[in-house]
């Protein structure tokens, strides 16, 4: 099995760039989720992988075989890459059986392979139905079976579960990805739903406006985002202003001691930050702030925990979600608002006083102004 490598890929539609300098490595047999907001280019990436668009710069290779390059293009039908589009796109004039068997040679279309595949996706009784009579979930399963018919090396799923209701989405998603893993198929899954990406994928590629923002495991992406944007895209955040303290706190004195057990490397602590929630252990993401520099502090709501001798605050509001709640608090001294995620059912009531502390090193990013400066610099440098 081979690794799919995308290297410095750029694709434009006419003058409008859709992908810029995208590099991704998809290990054989893995499930990779491409996550990003609308318009970030994730569908374009998928189409480039499938061979349905031309590349302007960069390459796509499978093992040592070049699939796409500015001067080379292997036709889609020769790539052994299956594609399940967003709306399943079943051929309306063909039955389920004929849809599934579409890629098979004519003789094999009425054979056992189709039955096998139908059984795989649990639709053996539907073989003679027409696509118009299927529900959304059933149609997606047929589309998957169809893509798997000729045992492709890679399967591309374009927001395949977006049109389904929540209950069905979860179970179907797990089922589908499970099937693909069993078949040892490399899977690239495009989604805008972060929970889906984290749940299903081995590797997550976060994209923004045609560029790759970060690649990593779900945990890495969530807990160690490389930019503030990634941080806020992949999860809820609490943002504060802070001042960077260069000296590493004595671990003994650090408030997070019991969690990192005295090992600063564990959470990548590289200093402290002074902010409304106190003096926090912090790791600066991707830059080196100077002593006393204004920085942006980003926390996850679940890192803020009740603590009797913590920072005093008052509960302002509760966003109740059944299994947990986002508690909105106003810190008494600074009058800043923060949100903490707390597991149900023992939740504070509105107006109650509350002490909070932070149990995970804070993420520190450049301030928005500095960020913008860096971004525009970045633009100037990159063609």
């Amino acid at each position: 099995m081979t690794t799919l490598t995308v290297s410095e890929l750029s694709v434009s539609y006419g003058t409008r760039p859709a992908l810029r300098d995208v590099s991704v490595v998809v290990p054989s047999g893995s499930v990779v989720a491409v996550l990003g907001p609308s318009g970030c280019g994730k569908t374009t990436l998928l189409m480039a992988l499938a061979g349905l668009v031309q590349v302007d710069q960069g390459t796509i290779t499978s093992g040592s075989r070049v699939l796409s390059a500015p001067n080379t293009h292997l036709a889609p039908e020769r790539r052994s890459i299956g594609w399940v589009p967003q709306d399943s796109s079943l051929f309306p004039h063909l039955s389920v059986r004929d849809n599934i068997g579409f890629a098979l040679p004519r003789g094999a279309r009425s054979g056992t392979r189709v039955d096998e595949l139908a059984q795989l996706v649990g639709l053996s009784d539907y073989l003679d139905r027409m696509p118009g009579s299927l529900s959304g979930g059933q149609a997606q399963r047929v589309a998957l079976a169809r893509a798997l018919a000729v045992k492709p090396e890679v399967v591309l799923l374009d927001e395949p579960f977006a049109a389904l209701d929540t209950v069905l989405r979860h179970s179907l998603a797990r089922e589908v990805v499970g099937l693909l893993r069993e078949a040892d198929t490399t899977t690239v899954l495009v989604t805008h739903d972060r929970e889906e990406a984290f749940d299903l994928a081995d590797i997550v590629v976060v994209m923004d406006r045609g560029r790759v923002a970060q690649v990593g495991t779900p945990k890495e992406i969530y807990e160690a985002p490389q930019t503030a944007w990634v941080a806020s895209f992949v999860g809820d955040t609490v943002e504060l202003e802070g001042l960077w303290q260069d000296t590493a706190l004595e671990c003994r004195a650090c408030g997070a001691k019991e969690f990192c057990e005295g090992e600063p490397e564990r959470f990548g602590c590289s200093g402290h930050v002074e902010c409304a929630l106190g003096n926090l252990a912090a790791s600066a993401q991707g830059f080196e702030p100077g002593q006393g520099q204004s920085v942006r502090v980003v926390l996850r709501p679940e890192w803020i925990v009740p603590s009797p001798d913590g920072v005093p605050s008052i509960v302002k509001a509760l966003s109740y979600a059944g299994h947990d709640a986002l508690v909105e608090l106003t810190l008494e001294n600074s009058h800043t608002s923060v949100r903490a995620r707390m597991a149900a059912p023992f939740l504070p009531s509105v107006g109650a006083p509350f002490g909070v502390a932070v149990r995970h090193p804070a993420l520190v990013f450049p301030t928005p102004q500095a960020d913008r400066w860096a971004e525009s610099n970045h633009e100037a440098v990159t063609p």
Partner: protein
């Protein structure tokens, strides 16, 4: 963002630009074939000296003919547009279970040749002549050209936008104009364009109604003075008018929006609107079908010489009529296919021009097409002269435009993702087209073929010139008897012609109503 929306209107052609080039070449070849009569026109017009040209344009009645043609063409097209849309909307929103039957009935005027309609009316009301009867009658027989595509389009439009507009305070009419009309506009204008081209090329009806258009002038030039050059100049004027109209229609057409797949049913019409649309529905039928029928029957009854029907002859003529109609339908559809495929796949000015050129020959008077093909075939393929092949080619030239519009719309209506999926499943571009696009587009392509069939069955002037000696269609048999004033003997041919032409006409209504535009 969905994959289809991302791609826009085929902004990125999947790789295979050689394929586009081959298609382009095929399409241009097809367009040139369809335009071949223009060669003849050019040759004949070139023979005209500039003084003669000045005389023709300034002194003869050419200016009057041109003005008459423009006024008639625009009036008929505009009225057919309005009435056709009203009928289509009425049928779509009548809430009736018999929608398909209504569409089938609405297609009936297509089966009536314009000359028969005029003749029938003149029997009943002989003093009819001039602009008004020509205008009304031509509208009656051409309305289906607008009704059919608009009705098909409405199936995919649904009522969501309109209902939103109503909640935002728009009156029913305003809501319709602002939300539904933009979606059906291109279909309506395409139909109106066919109506315009038909009107300016019609001879039989305007001759009988003594309304003198350019086409009438072309025929007069041949009859009066055997002046093929003058005829050619006048025919050229017709072509110029057609070009202007085609350019104008492209501007008016607007963007073709893909049909929405899940559209809630549109609201029913108010009783007033319903009554109005019902009137519009029955008027063309009454004027274009019923009254001519009465007139023809009266003439038949009056005839002192009702001869016994010569069955073998009648059957032979019927056989030929059907045969050439089927052949012409196949041929026209095949020729229109590359042009439509190109226009559908690559959206730029060049392909739009090629597509528009395909419509041009429809405007030519039948006699010009006939003589031009005599000219060309004798020089290029003399062995085929006066064979079925040239006759069928003549029909193809005349009517390919009717297949063109529906074929392109059919190809447009196939979502691009389907072909992309087919490619990802291992199909070559051609294989994907053959297994996915073509089957899905087939119903609408069939509609175009049916339209060509109906038109071919009714055609007369080109048939007279191009047919193999001894081959007669129902139209030519009908003609040869009326020329000899033998109306009694002509009547059976007229009747069979209408019945035979009504069959594909009714299929048109039925097929359209079922599939809507190709999904």
């Amino acid at each position: 963002m969905s994959s289809t929306a991302l791609l826009g209107p085929r902004a990125t052609t999947p790789p295979g630009s050689t394929r586009s080039r081959v298609l382009g070449v095929l399409a241009i070849l097809a367009a040139m074939l369809v335009l071949s009569p223009m060669v003849y026109l050019a040759v004949r017009v070139a023979e005209v000296t500039s003084e003669e040209l000045a005389v023709i344009i300034l002194q003869s009645r050419a200016g009057e003919f041109a003005a008459n043609t423009v006024v008639l063409g625009v009036a008929v097209a505009a009225t057919a547009l309005f009435v056709g849309v009203a009928i289509a909307v009425g049928i779509d929103r009548s809430g009736s279970r018999f929608r398909r039957a209504y569409l089938v009935i609405a297609s009936l005027p297509l089966a009536i040749p314009s000359y028969l309609a005029a003749y029938g009316w003149l029997v009943i009301s002989p003093q009819l002549n001039g602009f008004l009867p020509s205008y009304l009658l031509l509208t009656a027989v051409t309305v289906p050209y607008v009704v059919l595509p608009v009705a098909a389009r409405l199936r995919g439009v649904g009522g969501a936008h309109e209902m939103v507009a109503r909640t935002l305070g728009r009156s029913p009419v305003a809501a319709f104009v602002e939300t539904v009309w933009p979606q059906i506009r291109s279909s309506a204008f395409a139909g109106a364009m066919l109506v315009f081209l038909y009107t300016i090329s019609d001879f039989g009806l305007v001759a009988m109604m003594r309304f003198h258009t350019l086409t009438w002038g072309v025929n007069a030039a041949y009859s009066a003075s055997f002046n093929r050059s003058q005829a050619a100049v006048l025919a050229l004027l017709v072509v110029l008018l057609a070009i202007i109209a085609l350019v104008g229609e492209r501007g008016l057409r607007g963007h073709h929006a893909p049909p929405s797949t899940q559209a809630p049913r549109a609201p029913q019409l108010s009783p007033v609107a319903l009554t109005l649309t019902r009137m519009f529905f029955w008027a063309p039928l009454a004027g274009g079908v019923v009254v001519p029928f009465i007139g023809l029957t009266y003439r038949l009854v009056q005839a002192d010489t009702i001869r016994s029907i010569d069955w073998p002859r009648l059957l032979e003529a019927t056989g030929w009529t059907v045969a050439v109609a089927v052949l012409a339908a196949l041929s026209a559809t095949l020729i229109a296919l590359p042009i439509a495929a190109l226009a559908s796949r690559v959206r730029n000015r060049l392909t739009r021009t090629v597509e528009s050129l395909g419509y041009l020959s429809h405007a030519l008077p039948g006699i010009v097409v006939g003589l031009s093909l005599v000219f060309l075939s004798l020089r290029v393929v003399p062995a085929l002269y006066q064979t079925l092949a040239i006759l069928v080619f003549g029909y193809t030239v005349l009517f390919a435009s009717k297949a063109l519009g529906t074929t392109r719309a059919a190809l447009d209506g196939v979502p691009p993702t389907l072909t992309m999926v087919a490619r990802s499943l291992g199909e070559t571009p051609w294989g994907a087209w053959r297994r996915v696009t073509l089957p899905l587009a087939f119903p609408s392509i069939a509609v175009g073929a049916l339209l060509v069939m109906v038109s071919t069955m009714k055609e007369l002037p080109a048939t007279l010139i191009l047919r193999p000696t001894g081959v007669n269609t129902l139209a030519t048999e009908l003609w040869s008897r009326t020329v000899a004033l033998e109306y009694g003997a002509a009547a059976p041919y007229a009747a069979v012609l209408v019945v035979v032409a009504a069959i594909p006409a009714m299929f048109l209504g039925a097929v359209r109503s079922e599939r809507g535009e190709a999904r």
